[in-house]
């Protein structure tokens, strides 16, 4: 669309700018303030420069949390994106079954995150949970997510797949429905098989929504906090402690304001950098291949 040049449009965005500034810029400035000072109490603050940042960048705990975070985000992306595409392709296109399938798929997205945690906390338990009982007693594989770190990882990953694959499904489903029937008719005239329809029609048409899906899933998995907190509490040991959990532990648990603030800034800048890259890629792809 051709946009008119008009700087009065600033007046229309002003409320948003003021509101977001109140809830984003002021808190961020506080964080910056903490990150360069050592604060003992009101009025007792000492300038420490970059000390907290150096400490943070060298901290073993944080390296561990960062690596676990990367592994976690990578794993769930590798599972959720292909699974989401497959489910979206298999879902009925119209009629009451389509509506029912949509409502059911979307259900996990509307459940408060701590309740998602509670559901899996219960479901995966060996004594009172159906899932844990099935693996332990029917399959005969010992499974205990509170004691074994591999089991804790499996639980957290399955939980995230359960919780967020629906988002990928809905995005892909929307992309698929936007393909005109004429495309499929042309393909069948050409005698194209199921696979080439997917490869040359459906996949290119889903490129835009898939990019949004990868972007959202990457970002959101990178800030996951509530669900693992409820299920494993970050344990056993530190096995499922991801970045947000480590940060909350430092900020509210130990009240280490300085290091926590320095950590916050590094964390935020990393996400900012990643989203800047993603955003530019998205704009470029959106311009080039949306047709």
């Amino acid at each position: 669309m051709n946009k008119t040049e008009n700087n009065k449009a600033w007046l229309l965005v002003l409320p948003v700018v003021l509101l977001v500034a109140f809830s984003a810029i002021i808190p961020l400035m506080t964080v910056v303030n903490y990150s360069v000072q050592d604060i003992f109490g009101p009025g007792e603050a000492y300038w420490v420069g970059t000390e907290w940042f150096e400490q943070t960048l060298r901290s073993q705990d944080l390296h561990g949390a960062f690596i676990r975070q990367l592994i976690f985000s990578g794993t769930i992306l590798l599972i959720q994106i292909p699974l989401g595409i497959a489910i979206a392709l298999a879902m009925p296109a119209r009629g009451w079954t389509a509506s029912l399938a949509l409502v059911l798929v979307a259900l996990p997205l509307l459940i408060p995150w701590n309740v998602v945690g509670t559901i899996w906390q219960i479901f995966a338990r060996g004594d009172i949970g159906l899932g844990g009982w099935f693996v332990n007693d029917v399959l005969g594989v010992p499974f205990n997510y509170t004691a074994n770190s591999l089991d804790a990882w499996i639980t957290v990953v399955i939980m995230d797949v359960w919780h967020w694959t629906p988002l990928v499904v809905l995005l892909c489903y929307a992309g698929l429905r936007a393909i005109p029937d004429a495309f499929y008719q042309a393909a069948s005239i050409d005698g194209a098989g199921r696979l080439s329809v997917f490869r040359y029609i459906q996949l290119p048409k889903m490129r835009g929504v898939l990019l949004i899906a990868v972007l959202l899933r990457f970002m959101d998995s990178f800030m996951i906090y509530t669900e693992p907190f409820v299920v494993t509490g970050g344990g056993p040991g530190n096995a499922t402690t991801f970045l947000s959990q480590q940060l909350v532990k430092m900020a509210l648990g130990q009240f280490d304001l300085g290091p926590a603030a320095a950590f916050s800034i590094i964390y935020f800048l990393f996400i900012l950098l990643a989203s800047f890259v993603f955003y530019n890629v998205m704009i470029r792809v959106g311009r080039g291949g949306d047709a």
């Binding site: 669309m1 051709n2 946009k3 008119t4 040049e5 008009n6 700087n7 449009a9 600033w10 229309l12 965005v13 409320p15 948003v16 977001v20 109140f22 809830s23 984003a24 808190p27 964080v31 497959a86 298999a90 879902m91 509506s99 399938a101 979307a106 259900l107 509307l110 459940i111 408060p112 995150w113 309740v115 559901i119 899996w120 219960i122 479901f123 009172i128 949970g129 159906l130 899932g131 009982w133 359960w162 489903y173 929307a174 429905r177 936007a178 835009g208 970002m219 509530t226 947000s244 909350v248 900020a251 509210l252 926590a260 603030a261 996400i271 900012l272 989203s275 800047f276 955003y279 959106g286």
Partner: protein, 265 residues
Amino acid sequence: MKKRHVGLIIYFGFLLLPIYWLLTMSLKTNVEITGSLTLWPERLTFANYVTILTDPAWYSGYINSFIYVAMNTAISLSVALPAAYAFSRYKFIGDKHLFFWLLTNRMAPPAVFVLPFFQLYQTVGLFDTHIAVALAHCLFNVPLAVWILEGFMSGVPKEIDETAYIDGYSFPRFFAQIFMPLIKAGIGVTAFFCFMFSWVELLLARTLTSVEAKPIAATMTRTVSAAGMDWGTLAAAGVLTIVPGALVIYFVRNYMAKGFALGRV
């Protein structure tokens, strides 16, 4: 039966089993839950639900959650509508940077904001009020609302605006009487998303409240007591938090897919 149907049924089984388990558990007594594993309640009881619906400490959690979610949806929509219109129709200095800056807030980890929010709202005297949580949730809901609405608005041809202005409509009148009805679906979908993200968030809501505005999600930690876990009540509280979500999904089911694609399909 085709292969893809089998796959779909397995997926839906995986999707619904944990929810089914929560539901049956909420209808069992604690003795039955911890005693033996039963696939459906042997002695059906609604005692867990009665506890929640009669105890003010429990049901006030639901009321608090609803109040701040409603406030947040109203605030987000009313500031995002004009802004989204500006982004979809006009070029202005710094528009691209501003849009990106808004998006970065959607991508900021809430954990980063926990401590400063806590202190900010305590300083301005809003701690433990519904409006504090509503404003805090604007951090991620306003950018999202602008993003989705902009997508829907860009689908409306600009000629409509121009014709209306030529016909002598002022901007507010045009916006309220002609433009908003055209993007009804978009507004509904945006409201749905604001509801959703405010409803499911816990970390900020829990940090900014203590007694007066405590959300249901935080109330649920009450079930851990010296006498052990009260699993039945916990499960019942969980089931009750799913109900509102299931209801709103039903209303937006036909637009939902498009909304998740952020209005850009």
